[in-house]
Symmetry: C2
Subunit: 654 residues, 2 copies
């Protein structure tokens, strides 16, 4: 800091930290609520419009199809038709497989690919999302309901609970959207999702050992130890016929995936592989009749489209908490996956997805689904990726898929009679192996160790304990990180960057020099109850250490403590008490406390709590440079310093 | 921003944002752990000392008495003697009353004022804390244990569980201190404690209606509705004798308090009032024999000091979870109160209290207490305030009190035979009314509305539901505030303060002017998974709005987006993905993204994730002024701007 400048600052700092303009409590509450719940200001476009236009806009808001359908072209339809048929070919075997994963009748998987996609096509805002059942959601529903009701002993009760849980999931999702609480989903961090999905995929693969080895009895637990125990205590019941068939098709599916990955244009090989596997396996079983040699088949599938299930809901108080809990957990997981998938494709094509609107769409699609014999649906990544690669243009591809599934339901279900279950296991395993994203985990390790820890916790929790435990652990750890950030904020010592009036952290900028006699501390988080005790200790320790350092060097002793509050976004009453105490202790030591650049919120509260009077508003500066200038001015001219102290005393006496 | 300056910035920004010096992972982990768990650096004084000195220092660290006892003087002893006798006179009636509150035999209250104070005198670091049982802790223990075991039906089991819970509380407290987890207590904010204490005091007062009205049967619930129901369904059982006696002594106690408050020197009137009440009431009952007319008396108290209770612990798996839960909840509440009390008196006398050390002392005192027929003890505010006012100098006043209680236990217990219970109720009510701190609540309302909400929630929860519910609600709300701060960070638009190179929030500084063609946004919190979606939406909305505004004014269109990262303390992988997406969208719109002053941690992660390469390190500036200077330079010289874009493209191609 050049001495030439001192005169300028010493006389009177040229820029003052003012109090923010006063705002009535109601206004500020309104603003806070608006920023919290309506950050995207969804009503912006409704402003200054005639009523009629408002109605049209409102309908278009709820049903995006009204917006894009009038502009729909034949060209788009051609693309959507191809994409729709492609995803239907994937949807049919996947639907049947995932229903098995949830311990539900296979036909439910087909039902679930008929009604929900139609609802989504009208209400959803993603153009690329392909709707259907999801592996993780299915497994989660199976394990949660299965922990109370045995699916094979009480199939009817189990089925009804599944509908009820789906209904609850839909209600919950829609409510999140309507009440603008979409940010709850944001608490599932990227790292949590990576770890959770990989763990769930691992668990799903392990569950397939049942089908692959042709076992009749299998553990209901999902953790790796129980599964391994179950598999290896039944070695005598392993069926090699089943295992061979499964491995052959798994190899075929993996090969198809490998080819598609090498050339993007060959995506259809991978997309068609599940259906061709099913066809080939069915034909093979039909002609060889290996179903009599331990290869289980799907058997009879009822013809006809979705029956109503409105009368099947089970609101018995004995099971209701279970159904609601299952609904909420599976609903939020389905949402998180679906919205993340929708968002990534929207990024590619540069359009916007409104999270809260998507939640309403997901909710309505599950509510409608639960009334028409469907269980939990969302936007599975694999199917949406195929949809995207197949060149879909709008949600019409979902309609095409639904129609294709409808035709299957009406006419083709008998064809699945001889489909071996083991081929479904192969399809699931092939899909799941793609979800184990070890590269993402490596990336997390490189960039952010804590994120890696969260990811691994989720994985280990899901694989070794249970899906819920893994999820809760990972979310808990993520939240703990935020709390820890606030509970243990960084206090940085600032030094002067040579040839400038800029002050920066001396640990970061090695050329920054500490100004003698002054310690400048930057506080890096809001000052809340959670950190006020810590900050008091830490600030006093910095002062102790700096005094010790100056003493050992024989330099001028410490005179000023400058707190840079630029990064302090807010303060609460515990924080203000802390500042009060720090001020008292600093005074008692004969030092002078200064403050730099408190924000609007902080200034307001310091004023209301009278701390501004305690510290004296003239000791609050707009920039660190000005504060240091004032210090230097007073340090260098002793007499003037005396005067300043006198003035200070006078102020305090006033 | 003066045009004259532009040349300086345009050519090349003079100060670069550098990467922080590299640090091996282990070092940075060590630093983080040290800052998190050892913020006060307790081993500082052990550095560079010979082994012998280290042992002495270590013992002094554990037993502060070794430090101050050698310097103890006769003068100090005189003060401590007076203070000790004063607090003993308060401790005896309070001890008996609070034990009743916990549904424990009255004698336990006396036992608990004998052993624990001796332990604390050796291990505690506060000079003013008076150890004893606490009202809220007693009530909490009574209500938690009472919800499972009925104290009057199974008194032995109940008593043993109380010892076990106290033992658990002691273990938990000591563990918190030993593992340096003291910051858990910090999550009880000032507002929570004010609301919680006032609520608990209200509840304790309500419970006294039982004694005051001389009722035999009373609800075990603590909420106001149950208590009122219990009181008003038994109107025919009310005993006027009891009520009159109680009100007379309550009036006497309140009068004594009022006198003491008016003149600080008369503190002893208030301090002695409980004991004199007990003596007067006992004498009154002894001579009038009103105990035969519905005034309940304490009855027989066993002579002799604390018997051992080591063999009484109940580790039966049926009750162990209850005992542990009770221990943890009461332990943490007792700690929070005790440490807050210790800290406030230490502030007055300007000495330091080490939170973690205090926890170990509290823990050891409860462990020792639980082995010697004591129940939960801490540092009650009322007793400590009397201790302080009586002029105590060191923890010797606790020793004096313990000895006085010992003499009472050995010789004087028969004197309490005729003490009416109603006078104990009066003592409790008088003590509790002082804890209802409505002035603090008003202060909270003025300074911080959210803190007020937390306070009221705690109060209402405690009074209308239960003590635990109130506590959990208030803590949950406090934590939600922190999460909300991170989930909905402020994004502030910065403008130039006239005649300076300083940029500040335009809403706060009304004279700050927005620089045409540039939008400068300050982000006010770390960028984490919880806010990355929000920030993306919000940043893009700011850009939309600014573009709209400029269009409506017919000004130059938006060209640059400057993100001021000064207040961004950290970033995680979700945050980096967000920045990546924002950068892509901004690029696609033909705008240019710049960044200002990212901190060390943020720079490190931006570098590791290759985002620095994406954005180009030359677009990161040390100050907003320099960034704006660079923008203006490019805006004003069109040809040069073209060149800059060309250069930019080249960089991107590299």
């Amino acid at each position: 800091m050049g001495n030439a400048d001192d005169g300028k600052y010493g006389s009177a700092a040229s820029h003052r930290v003012t109090l923010p303009p006063p705002q009535p409590f109601v206004t500020s509450l309104k603003n806070t609520l608006k920023e919290t719940l309506f950050p995207d200001d969804p009503l912006r476009q409704f402003k200054n419009q005639p009523v009629r236009r408002k109605v049209v806009l409102g309908l278009q808001y709820l049903f995006p199809i009204l917006e894009w359908a009038p502009r729909y072209t034949l060209d788009s339809f051609k693309s959507d038709l191809i994409a729709g048929i492609t995803i239907a070919s994937l949807a049919i075997p996947q639907g049947i497989s995932y229903a098995k994963l949830a311990n539900l009748p296979p036909i439910l998987g087909l039902y679930s690919s008929f009604v929900p996609p139609l609802v989504y096509a009208m209400m959803g805002s993603s153009r690329d999302l392909a709707v259907g059942t999801v592996a993780v959601g299915s497994l989660l529903m199976g394990s949660m309901l299965g922990s109370v009701v045995n699916a094979s002993e009480e199939p009817k009760l189990y089925l009804h609970l599944a509908f009820t849980a789906t209904f609850a999931a839909g209600l919950f999702e829609a409510a999140l959207g309507i009440f603008r609480l979409g940010f709850i989903v944001d608490f599932l961090s990227h790292a949590t999702i990576v770890g959770f999905m990989s763990g769930a995929a691992t668990v799903v693969c392990l569950q397939q050992l049942k089908g692959l080895l042709g076992l009749d009895h299998f553990t209901h637990a999902t953790d790796v130890l129980s599964v391994m125990h179950s598999v290896f205590t039944q070695t005598h019941k392993w069926r090699w016929e089943s295992a061979v068939l499964g491995c052959v098709f798994l190899f075929y599916l993996m090969l198809a995936r490998y080819l598609s990955k090498r050339k993007a244009k060959l995506f259809w090989i991978s997309a068609m592989a599940p259906l061709t596997s099913v066809i080939m396996a069915t034909i093979f079983v039909y002609f060889t009749h290996v179903e009599k040699h331990g290869v289980q088949v799907i058997g009879e599938l009822k013809k006809g489209i979705n029956p109503s299930s409105v009368m099947d809901f089970n609101f018995d108080s004995k099971y209701l908490p279970l159904a609601i809990k299952t609904g909420i957990v599976t609903g939020i997981i389905a949402l998180a996956e679906g919205i993340a998938v929708g968002r990534s494709f929207a990024m590619f094509k540069n359009y916007h997805i409104d999270g809260n609107k998507e939640m309403i769409a997901f909710g309505m699609m599950n509510i409608a689904g639960s009334c028409t014999s469907c269980y939990l649906t969302a936007g599975p990544f694999s199917r949406s990726a195929v949809n995207f690669n197949a060149g879909c243009k709008t949600a019409v591809s979902n309609i095409v898929m639904a129609l294709a599934v409808m035709i299957t339901l009406l006419f083709l279900t008998p064809l699945f009679h001889y489909t071996p279950i083991v081929v479904l296991s192969s399809i699931i395993i092939a899909a799941m192996l793609g979800l184990i994203d070890y590269q993402a985990a490596i990336h997390l390790w490189h960039v952010d160790k804590f994120d890696f820890l969260v990811c691994i916790t989720a994985y280990v929790g899901v694989v070794f304990a249970s899906i819920e435990v893994g999820l809760v652990l990972a979310i808990g750890l993520s939240i703990m990180r935020i709390l820890l950030f606030v509970a243990r904020p960084k206090t940085l010592v600032l030094g002067n960057i040579p040839d400038s009036k800029v002050f920066r952290n001396v640990d970061h900028y090695q050329n920054a020099t500490i100004v003698p006699g002054i310690i400048i501390l930057e506080i890096d988080s809001p000052i809340y109850f959670a950190n006020s005790n810590y900050l008091r200790e830490r600030i006093l320790r910095w002062i102790d250490e700096e005094e010790g350092r100056l003493k050992s060097l024989g330099e001028t002793s410490l005179q000023y403590v400058v707190l840079d509050m630029s990064a302090v976004g807010n303060i609460d009453t515990s924080g203000i008490s802390m500042l009060d105490e720090v001020k008292k202790i600093i005074d008692r030591r004969g030092l002078k406390l200064m403050m730099v650049n408190p924000g609007a919120e902080v200034m307001k509260k310091l004023n209301k709590s009278k701390f501004l009077e305690t510290i004296g508003q003239e000791w609050i500066f707009l920039t660190v440079g000005e504060a240091v200038g004032a210090c230097n001015y007073m340090l260098h001219s002793c007499t003037q310093q005396m005067n300043a102290h006198e003035t200070d005393k006078q102020y305090n006496n006033v």
